[in-house]
Symmetry: C2
């Protein structure tokens, strides 16, 4: 077992028992420092400036300049052998028995910051972004609502991880408010579209992963290789304008119903940190996927996911408790399918899971499903109801795994909806 994953390991930095960021996590993110940025990790509520850590000689074998960057891309591009070593060395430096940095007040002050005092920024310079549609319960729910309840899944769904290209430019970091989008919608019983603010604004609970190693055009990734290409994971809110999407999406897929914004959590949790939560993948026997997609290993992850709606100055309501393990198609299958045609991937490319719904209403990952197209509104603590998301509501998604006393999490992705711009 690597020290980073030893469940008994404690840090000399205080970590509360319900923290997502014990010394076993060591995720990577970016914060603003003066006019520039610093790549960082976090233990408990303490953000650690990795540039200072390296420049001051506490972290060796890595060029400090990869941490004096606006994004973690250059760091990821070093490759897993090096980045895993960095995680390992960080965990050694901050473990309870290590006095090296703990005993140096000046250095500690220069590189450790309370998370409440720093501004976390977009961790990844995203190249291409792909969104999948890999939760069977979600696809079934959508199929029941909009197509044939008896044949909810389309013919291709069980044969391949359906996915589509998404918009990278409008992906923002947690905490960035978004304006309600405007666009064309088709009123019920009309053939004439109208223009106006989206009326059916929704979230989609997803988990994203980022590519840490590039391929060349023409190259395909096999199931055995796929994990080497996945640097880490984060929470992903794939905001959706249901009315805009419904009118526009035939025949070429979602466009403006999605591209007004997506939100990601600020810390990229490495695949290695999530190893203890690896869980059985669902049986895929009926039908069996084609050989290139065949999965013989545990490639799902038991990560608890939740969604809260928080009205302005109001009390939060948890509207969804789901789990990343519910995925029918796992990340490796998604990536293998993505490249089977020779499509190349670059460091910083992002793939998201698609809405992660579980089997019952309390675990559905979007308001579309939770309110069943608005027919079953959710009661809020303040006596109001929600079919979809209102102006000034904040949506907060959280995710963590817990096992043998160790909790490793993503923190949260939070986004507030502001009224449409006039």
């Amino acid at each position: 077992m690597s020290a980073a994953n030893d469940p008994t390991l404690k840090s000399w930095i205080e970590v509360s028992p319900d923290s997502d960021f014990p010394i076993q996590n060591i995720p990577f993110g970016v914060f603003k420092k003066g006019k520039g940025h610093r790549v960082a990790t976090i233990i408990g509520d303490t953000v650690i400036d990795l540039y200072e850590l390296t420049k001051r000689g506490y972290l060796t074998g890595v060029d400090a300049n990869v941490f004096k960057q606006e994004f973690i891309n250059d760091f990821m591009a070093l490759g897993k052998k090096k980045t895993n070593k960095v995680r390992e060395n960080i965990s050694k430096l901050f473990k309870h028995s290590s006095r090296k940095l703990k005993g140096n007040d000046k250095d500690r002050k220069a590189m450790l910051h309370p998370v409440s005092k720093v501004e976390l920024t977009m961790p990844i310079r995203i190249g291409d972004y792909t969104d999948f549609y890999s939760s069977r319960d979600h696809a079934t729910n959508v199929g029941k609502m909009f197509r044939d309840p008896e044949n909810a899944l389309l013919p291709n769904w069980l044969h391949l991880p359906v996915g589509y290209h998404g918009r990278a430019s409008s992906i923002v970091v947690s905490g960035t408010p978004l304006h309600r989008p405007k666009g064309q919608q088709i009123p019920a019983d009309s053939k004439q579209p109208v223009y106006g603010p989206c009326r059916l604004l929704d979230f989609e609970l997803e988990v994203g992963f980022v590519i840490g190693q590039k391929t060349e055009l023409g190259q395909s990734i096999s199931m055995d290789e796929a994990e080497d290409f996945i640097f880490g994971l984060f929470l992903f809110n794939d905001w959706s304008a249901r009315d805009i999407q419904k009118w526009e999406y035939v025949p070429l897929g979602p466009f403006l119903g999605k591209s007004f914004g997506s939100s990601i959590s600020p810390w990229v949790v490495t695949l290695e940190a999530l190893e203890p939560f690896r869980s059985t993948s669902p049986k895929q026997n009926d039908p069996k996927p084609l050989p290139y997609l065949e999965n013989k290993k545990k490639r799902n992850y038991d990560i608890n996911l939740s969604v809260d709606i928080v009205p302005e100055n109001g009390e939060a309501k948890t509207v969804c408790e789901s789990n990343f393990k519910y995925m029918y198609w796992n990340m490796c299958q998604q990536l293998v399918h993505h490249t089977v045609n020779g499509c190349n991937v670059n460091v910083g490319d992002v793939c998201a899971s698609g809405t992660i719904s579980g089997p019952e209403r309390g675990s559905f990952g979007s308001m579309l499903e939770i309110s069943w197209r608005g027919t079953m509104p959710v009661d809020m603590p303040d006596g109001t109801q929600r079919k979809f998301i209102n102006d000034h509501d904040t949506v907060v998604m959280r995710g963590f795994g817990q096992k043998k006393g160790v909790r490793i999490g993503f923190g949260e992705v939070s986004g507030k909806i502001l009224p449409a711009i006039k």
Copy 2:
């Protein structure tokens, strides 16, 4: 009239009458120089290194370093006021009566190169790429073939420029060969997909444009502003694997049927250079678009487009002669619609037109339409036939406008199909 657009202007560089690159064009591209790259323009068959031109004092008011780059992005980001001035100054320097550079052998040799001696590379660092579907004849043909011949256009098509996010990583410059993609297809009369090389490989004749000015998330571009955001245009071959696409694309749109590669021509022709070819836009009265999309100006362009198929060591066959003026939705409408929901655009983002088909078979912009799903094969000069594209075929697209003795063109985008990788 700006000097750059004066149709009587000649250069002291030799320009053949059928060249796409007279002194009125001044497009922008990039070539390899040693281990680096240079931003360049072209007159006739002569590539002009703009870094050397600026460093040696022939071009003022612009920082030479924007030309010592792998891509033209930093140059575009200077804004149209500056980039138009650069075009103007280049045309002055190379006009017939200008002796300044012509008389300096050493400088001329350092900055002028025969196009046959340089390697042209990807001109743009592409951020997001969006593909539209804006030719009415193309959408009608596809609808007739795959849906209802009596109701070929879907209900939304005449109300908005249908578009979808595409894959940016696999866009390559003219001359880059592509391997035939592999993937899942569904054989006729089967419900079980098979895995193998694409059997129905197609081109799509398109014109792309690149964004030269960014917006902020939440901002929408109006019809009056849209041209300020369009830096320039190029030819775009949206290669398509029809069998892969057909099986995968429901309900979220094309994915692997497109993402194995798209090809662009190496020279970005500015919107200003194409001004003489501005032509009337089609009437949009039935239905009238919503006010935000209403078009009151000439926003189409009369640009002749053609597609050749060239078998290996064989004679070319022109299979399509179309025109960019056939677009139902123009570039401004595409961009306005793209941002109506607040989606932000960045310098280097690319939008492509969708297949540009004219009204009859000879002007259809894809083999799918030309061969009408393979029912009307094309006779090649060597006695073979084509329903789709064979291994070792090269597809060459060309485009130019011609008026008052001046021809301004794109050059060509050429791509050869290699066999699928084993």
